[in-house]
Amino acid sequence: MSRLGSRPLFDAEFHAVLAALERHARRVMRSDRAGGGEVPRRGLSGTIFHDYRDYSPGDDPRRIDWNVYGRLGDLVIKLFEAEARFRLHVIVDTSPSMDVAGRSSRGWLAKRLAGGLAHLGLHVFEGARLVITPGRDDANARMLTGKPHLPSCLQRLESAEVHQGSMAETLGALPAGFASRDATLILSDLFDLEDLERSLRRIGRRTRRIVCVQILDPIDLAPERDGWRRVRDVETGRQRLIRLSSELRDACAEALREHEQQVSALCRRYGARRLLLDTASPFERAMLRVLEALA
């Protein structure tokens, strides 16, 4: 049970969706390789051998190197260059702002997306690194490969607490682990532009593929009820008495649009893609959009 949401994070529906998404991800990756871009255009069997890795349950048995098994008795899988270069760095924002419960918690959705991406990273891609920010966790530095690491990843997400802090500081404390062939996803509300810029500055030089997933909620706009309310910033604790009105709602929507434009401009400056998600979006659709953004 996630602290951020009342619903279970990783239920049977979650795994069922991921099973379907796994196939879709492979297809997307293949089409991605066929479609050119930064990844070299090479076929599955004709790609250049890159490395071995241990076999983990769920791996395609056809990719087991039986020669090695014959000689050494170890079940290993041959990795080719196209797959090995694609590792996922999933950065999940667990700051208090992600815990503001509106229609549903954006932190809940972010963790679900992170779990799904970790699943894909371990099952489909070369590996996955789960970075939970802010906070200092040694597990943030580990790039995981192989399906056996998925439960630990999900466990980390489930047990993640709300922390006050900066995402950029967390990333700055990590050892170098971003490769140019890796993909990085930031799952956050991205309200702190300065923190986002500093984070992108740290990531952008190392990875070529960055996706900033901005998760918003209708609560970010003023509520429908009019009247005086004391509004408190969940991050800073600062309070202010504000009279709610339809004019303020319109002004909030406009301010939010401007903020989204600023986020987009910032992402463009650092070669990142911005993906806007709503907490009301179904998980399956959100994952598909993320995968599309990755492709």
């Binding site: 509300d189 702190d192 005086w228 509004v231 504000i242 004019e247």
Partner: protein, 588 residues
């Protein structure tokens, strides 16, 4: 000052504050948690609501709302503004009702009619809220109307009055209507100021007394006479003092001495303006009689300015009224002087003067007399009398203690109670068959009445001012009854109780040792019960036709209740304020 008709409703004033606290609690309890307050603030900036004025506007709106609720809550208390209204000035109009006021003036109108016109003029000059009291100063002051009389009543009463046939008791009238306890009471004195006392008042009136002379006053001269008996057949000497009250010009005074009505001598003297001149003449008077000294102003014809009377008996002249100077250690003198000046026509004597010896017509109140010879015939009210030696009364030794027994059958102590009287030291008496004990302590008699031939004596063997007695009602009544008993029957020296307000004490009395803050306390209770004395004891108050108090009795002497406040309801103002604040809330 604001008063509330329903103070209980003031608790409602707390309701706005309670509501305010509840609302603050609700806002805090149901506050909005947002992911990014700066985003909201940017929105507020777009609305123009983030300026400093906007913040203050919010606070002003809260304040106006709070004040609105307070005003509405305060209306339930029905507040009223109490406005102090200055008490109306009381004017006592004292009119000279002496015989001289009947004199005709130029134009054929009498001085009395001129005085009535003057009164009407004075009434017209005063404001509608002022109060008036009409007092006629004849032989004795007469309070005609109470203090809160209207001008129509004053005029009506004045039309029904006429001047009397006697003199004018102007000073007594002023004392009667203007006690020192109420210096705000103003006295309008209307007189021809023809008498000696009138001339003094006309020239130098007391503070708060405004004089209005009527008629043409030609007499500015006053005369006082003193008799010095001649020893061993020598001529008697009479000293007259002539005072010229005209401060602008000197006067040629013509003084005519008469002995038993016959002209004796006539002299003239020039008296400088505003000064007093003393003239001494020697006469061979022989026996007893009455010497008069009349003073005329040269050029005024036969109109007498003033007359001095000297009643000479036993070749000693006794002044008509003699009040000896106060001796510092004579406490009873001060006490009795107050009594004598206000209640009784009695004299106070002390050992410093011997003239009391020859006063057979009057009651002598004495203290500590050192008598080396038997008391002459007369009437005496003696307090303590530590130096008294009398074969009729012998003294013993006594102690302090309460008065335990009193004689209810004797006229002096009849009807009086001495339960609350205790004395500090006493000199018990050893009475003979002529004396009647009046008061007794455990040690014996401490007061007695004695009547032998022409000698009547009430002897009090302790000092009243060294006891708790003067603080009780029985003290002044005892003095009244003693004076009446000593007088025997109504005569010209009958002590009279003037119906006056509590006696103003001489401030100097407070400086005397042992009397500070004591005399006022001592005097007040007794005087307050004087009407009771009239009813119960038959004490005759001096109430001649002119001096009888007008309907209303003693109440006329008391000022009416002060209307000192006016109350204006503040409810309309509060509602207006609430509406104003509400409008402010709407505008903000």
């Amino acid at each position: 000052m604001i008063v509330f008709e329903r103070p209980v409703a003031l608790w409602l004033l707390l309701s706005p504050f309670v509501l305010y606290v509840l609302r603050s609690w609700w806002r805090r309890r149901h506050g909005l948690l947002v992911a990014s307050l700066p985003l909201w603030e940017r929105a507020l900036e777009k609305l123009g609501a983030s300026s400093r004025w906007s913040i203050w506007r919010d606070r002003l709106r809260d304040l106006a709302l709070l004040l609105t609720l307070c005003c509405l809550a305060a209306t339930f208390g029905e507040p009223r503004l109490v406005l102090p209204v200055p008490a109306p000035t009381t004017y006592a109009i004292v009119i000279d009702a002496s015989a001289s006021m009947a004199a005709q003036e130029a134009g054929g109108r009498s001085r009395w009619e001129l005085a009535r016109d003057r009164v009407r003029q004075l009434l017209d000059e005063r404001g509608p809220r002022e109060r008036f009291q009409l007092v006629l100063a004849g032989d004795a002051p007469a309070i005609v109307t109470p203090l809160d009389s209207t001008r129509s009543r004053i005029e009506r009463e004045l039309m029904q009055r006429k001047p009397g046939l006697g003199g004018a008791s102007l000073a007594a009238a002023i004392r009667a209507v203007r006690p020192s306890t109420d210096p705000s009471r103003r006295v309008l004195l209307i007189s021809d100021f023809s008498s000696e006392e009138g001339r003094r008042l006309g020239v130098d009136p007391p503070s708060g007394v405004f004089t209005y002379p009527i008629g043409i006053r030609s007499s500015n001269l006053a005369i006082e006479a003193t008799h010095w008996p001649g020893d061993l057949g020598a001529e008697d000497r009479v000293e007259v003092q002539v005072t010229n009250y005209d401060r602008s010009s000197a006067a040629d005074a013509r003084i005519v001495f008469r002995w038993n009505g016959a002209n004796l001598r006539e002299i003239t003297a020039r008296v400088p303006a505003g000064e007093r001149r003393s003239i001494e003449e020697a006469f061979d008077l022989g026996g007893d009689g009455e010497l008069t000294a009349q003073v005329y102003s040269e050029g005024d014809g036969l109109e007498v300015d003033d007359t001095a009377y000297l009643s000479i008996t036993g070749r000693e002249a006794v002044p008509v009224l003699w009040v000896p100077p106060a001796v510092p250690d004579f406490e009873m003198a001060a006490l009795m002087e107050v009594l004598g000046a206000s209640l009784f026509d009695i004299e106070v004597a002390d050992e410093a003067a011997d003239s009391w010896r020859s006063s057979t017509e009057r009651i002598i109140v004495a203290e500590s007399l050192d008598i080396s010879r038997p008391l002459p015939k007369g009437r005496y009210l003696i307090f303590d009398g530590s130096g008294l030696r009398s074969p009729l009364l012998q003294r013993g030794e006594g102690r302090a203690g309460p008065i335990t027994t009193w004689n209810p059958s004797h006229p002096v102590t009849r009807g009086l109670l001495f339960e609350d009287a205790a004395i500090r030291s006493s000199s018990p008496l050893l009475l003979d068959e002529h004396a009647v004990s009046l008061l007794e302590t455990a040690d014996g008699s401490v007061a007695a009445a004695l009547e032998v031939s022409d000698l009547k004596l009430v002897w009090v063997g302790f000092r009243p001012d060294a006891s708790t007695w003067p603080s009780s009602d029985s003290f002044p009544l005892f003095v009244v009854q003693a004076a009446r008993w000593l007088a025997g029957s109504p005569s010209r020296s009958v002590p009279g109780v003037h119906t006056m307000e509590p006696v103003p004490l001489d401030p100097a009395a407070g400086d005397r040792p042992g009397t500070e803050n004591e005399l006022p306390r001592l005097m007040a209770p007794g005087f307050g019960n004087l009407p009771d004395a009239e009813e119960e004891l038959g004490v005759t108050f001096v109430n001649s036709d002119e001096s009888r108090i007008a309907p209303g009795g003693r109440e006329a002497l008391r000022p009416p209740p002060e209307r000192i406040t006016e109350r204006e309801s503040l409810v309309p103002w509060l509602i207006a304020c609430a509406l104003f604040f509400l409008l402010l809330v709407a505008l903000l």
